[in-house]
C-alpha cells in the first residue's frame, strides 16, 4: 500500500466531524436520563431517539470524518470531490437532531429529519463510490469499503421508508423493515467498516508484523452473507434465512476477534497509553456483549439481550472510536501545524499532544459508566442505571474537552 499525503484533506474540514461527533455523544448520554429501562425492550420513543442520535450524531459523524482522511489512505487515490465533506456534517447533524426530536415529541418531523440524513448519507456514499471508481487495483480493505457502503445505501432506503411508515405517511411492515434497517446499517455498514479499517489502523498503531490476514478476510465474507441473509429473512418471513444470518454474523465476529488477538499478540509497541486501554476495554466489551447476546437468545431473555446490545454500542463501538480519536486527532493537528517545521526547529512528538491524565480520567469514568449501566439494564435497576449514566456524562465531557485541547494544541 503506497500512501500519498498529497491526498490528505485540510484539517479544518475534518475537525468539525470530531467536535460535533463528541458533542453529540454528550447529548446522547444526557438523553439516557430519559430512557426508562423498564420499557427499553418495547423500542420506546426515548430509546429509538437515543439510538439515532448516538449512531448518527456520534458514531457516523466520527466515522465519516475519519473516512475523509482514511479513504485516500485505503484506496490510494485522491477524493473525487473532497469539498463535498463540507456539506455532509451540517446535514448529518441537523438531520440527526431532527430525527431524535421527532421520535421524542413530533413524529411528523421524522420524514423531514430522515430526508436530511438521507441526503447527507447519499452525498457520502456517492463521493465514496466516485472515489472508488478511480481505483485501478483492489485489495481486501478496498472491497470492505465497497461492501460497507453498499449496505449503507440499502440501509438508508429502508430507513427512509421506515420513517415514512412511522410518521403514518405510508403503510409498511415496520417490524420487518426495522430489522433489515438495523442489520444493514449497524452490522452491514458500521460492522464491516470497523473490520476493514481495523486492518489498516491497528497494525499501524501497534506496529504488528508477520501475521496472517485470513481470519479477518473470512470474517468479512461471513458478515456480508450474514447481513444479506437476515435482510432476506425480514422481507420474506423465511425463518431459516434469519437463523443462518445470525449464525454467520456470530461466526464472523469470532474470526474478527481472533484476528484482533493475533494483531495484539504480534504487536511491537506495548507501552501503556489511552489507545491501548480504550481498545482493550472495547474488545473485552465486545466479547462480553457477544456472550450475553448468545445467552439472551438461547434463554429467550430479552433483558440480557438488550444489555448485550447496549454494551456492544457504548462499550465496544464508542470506546473503539474514542481510542482512535486520541491517535487520529493529534496526528492530523501535528501534520497540519508541525510537519512543515521538521528540520527547521524542534517539534513536539504526537504523544506530547495527548492530555494523558485527562484522557485517563475520562476513560475510567466512561468505563465505570458503561459497566454500571449495562449491569443495571441486565438486573433491572433504574436508579443504578441513572447513576451509571452520570459517570458516562462526566467521561463524555472529558472526551470532548480533550478533543478541543488537542485541536487547539500549542507548544
Amino acid at each position: 500500500m503506497a500512501v500519498s499525503t498529497d491526498f490528505a484533506p485540510p484539517f479544518k474540514l475534518i475537525a468539525p466531524y470530531f467536535l460535533l461527533g463528541t458533542l453529540s455523544f454528550i447529548v446522547s448520554v444526557l438523553m439516557l436520563y430519559g430512557v426508562d429501562i423498564d420499557d427499553i425492550f418495547q423500542t420506546s420513543p426515548q430509546t429509538i431517539a437515543w439510538v439515532h442520535l448516538f449512531l448518527l450524531g456520534f458514531v457516523m459523524m466520527v466515522i465519516f470524518g475519519a473516512m475523509a482522511q482514511l479513504v485516500p489512505v485505503v484506496l490510494e487515490v485522491g477524493h473525487f470531490a473532497v469539498d463535498l465533506y463540507y456539506a455532509i456534517y451540517p446535514l448529518l447533524l441537523t438531520g440527526s437532531f431532527m430525527m431524535s426530536y421527532g421520535f421524542l415529541h413530533s413524529p411528523g418531523l421524522l420524514p423531514y429529519g430522515g430526508t436530511v440524513v438521507l441526503i447527507s448519507l447519499l452525498i457520502f456514499v456517492s463521493e465514496t463510490f466516485l472515489t472508488i471508481n478511480k481505483v485501478k487495483r483492489f485489495n481486501t480493505v478496498m472491497v470492505s469499503v465497497i461492501i460497507a457502503n453498499l449496505f449503507l445505501f440499502l440501509g438508508m432506503i429502508f430507513g427512509i421508508t421506515l420513517a415514512l411508515g412511522f410518521a403514518g405517511e405510508i403503510a409498511v411492515d415496520l417490524h420487518a423493515l426495522l430489522k433489515a434497517h438495523i442489520y444493514l446499517v449497524l452490522f452491514g455498514y458500521v460492522g464491516t467498516t470497523i473490520m476493514g479499517i481495523s486492518m489498516v489502523l491497528l497494525p499501524m498503531f501497534w506496529l504488528s508484523h508477520s501475521f496472517s490476514w485470513r481470519p479477518v478476510k473470512t470474517a468479512l465474507w461471513l458478515i456480508s452473507i450474514g447481513v444479506v441473509s437476515v435482510v432476506l429473512a425480514s422481507l420474506s418471513d423465511i425463518a431459516l434465512f434469519g437463523y443462518a444470518g445470525y449464525a454467520l454474523t456470530l461466526a464472523a465476529y469470532g474470526f474478527y476477534i481472533y484476528q484482533i488477538y493475533i494483531i495484539y499478540k504480534t504487536r511491537v509497541r506495548i507501552e501503556e497509553d489511552i489507545y491501548k486501554d480504550s481498545l482493550l476495554f472495547s474488545y473485552i466489551s465486545f466479547v462480553v456483549a457477544l456472550l450475553l447476546g448468545v445467552a439472551g437468545f438461547v434463554f429467550s431473555n430479552e433483558r440480557i439481550f438488550v444489555a448485550a446490545g447496549f454494551l456492544a454500542l457504548v462499550g465496544f463501538v464508542a470506546f473503539l472510536i474514542i481510542g482512535h480519536l486520541y491517535k487520529i486527532v493529534p496526528f492530523l493537528v501535528w501534520y497540519e501545524r508541525f510537519s512543515p517545521l521538521v528540520g527547521k526547529r524542534k517539534v513536539p512528538m504526537l504523544a506530547d499532544m495527548v492530555p494523558a491524565y485527562s484522557a485517563k480520567f475520562g476513560f475510567y469514568y466512561n468505563a465505570v459508566g458503561v459497566s454500571v449501566t449495562t449491569l443495571a439494564i441486565a438486573f433491572d435497576q433504574p436508579f443504578i442505571f441513572k447513576a451509571g449514566v452520570s459517570f458516562l456524562l462526566i467521561g463524555s465531557i472529558f472526551v470532548f474537552k480533550d478533543i478541543l485541547y488537542m485541536i487547539n494544541y500549542k507548544e
Partner: protein, 102 residues
C-alpha cells in the same frame, strides 16, 4: 569523502513523530552510498508500516536531512523497499526496550 556512517548520522536527525525515535535507531535505513564523482547519495530504506500516512513526508525529510547535514552532497535518491520487511529485531536495543520488543 562522505562515508556511510556520515550519511547515517545525517539521517539520524530525522525522528518518527509517532514513536519518538530516529529512523536509524529504528532500523529503517538499510543502506546508503555516496558517489564522489557525481556527489550523489543513494539511500535504501523502508518504513515501519506500509500504511504509514507520513510516507512521502518521511522520504522528503530524509532527503532534506542529508542535503542539510552534508554540504558536499548535491543530490539524493531514496529507494523505498518492503523486502526485507521491517521488524523490531532491526531496531537498536534502546528502541526495543522502550517499545517493548526486547
Amino acid at each position: 569523502m562522505v562515508t556511510k556512517e556520515d550519511i547515517f548520522k545525517a539521517i539520524s536527525t530525522v525522528k518518527d513523530p509517532e514513536v519518538g525515535f530516529n529512523l536509524v535507531e529504528m532500523g529503517l535505513i538499510y543502506d546508503a552510498e555516496y558517489n564522489p564523482e557525481t556527489k550523489h547519495v543513494q539511500v535504501t530504506m523502508t518504513l515501519s508500516t506500509k500504511a504509514c500516512p507520513l510516507h512521502q513526508m518521511i522520504l522528503q525529510w530524509v532527503e532534506e536531512a542529508v542535503l542539510r547535514e552534508l554540504p558536499e552532497v548535491e543530490s539524493v535518491d531514496i529507494t523505498l523497499v518492503w523486502e526485507p520487511a521491517w521488524n523490531i529485531s532491526m531496531a537498536d536495543e534502546n528502541v526495543k526496550k522502550a517499545l517493548g520488543g526486547a
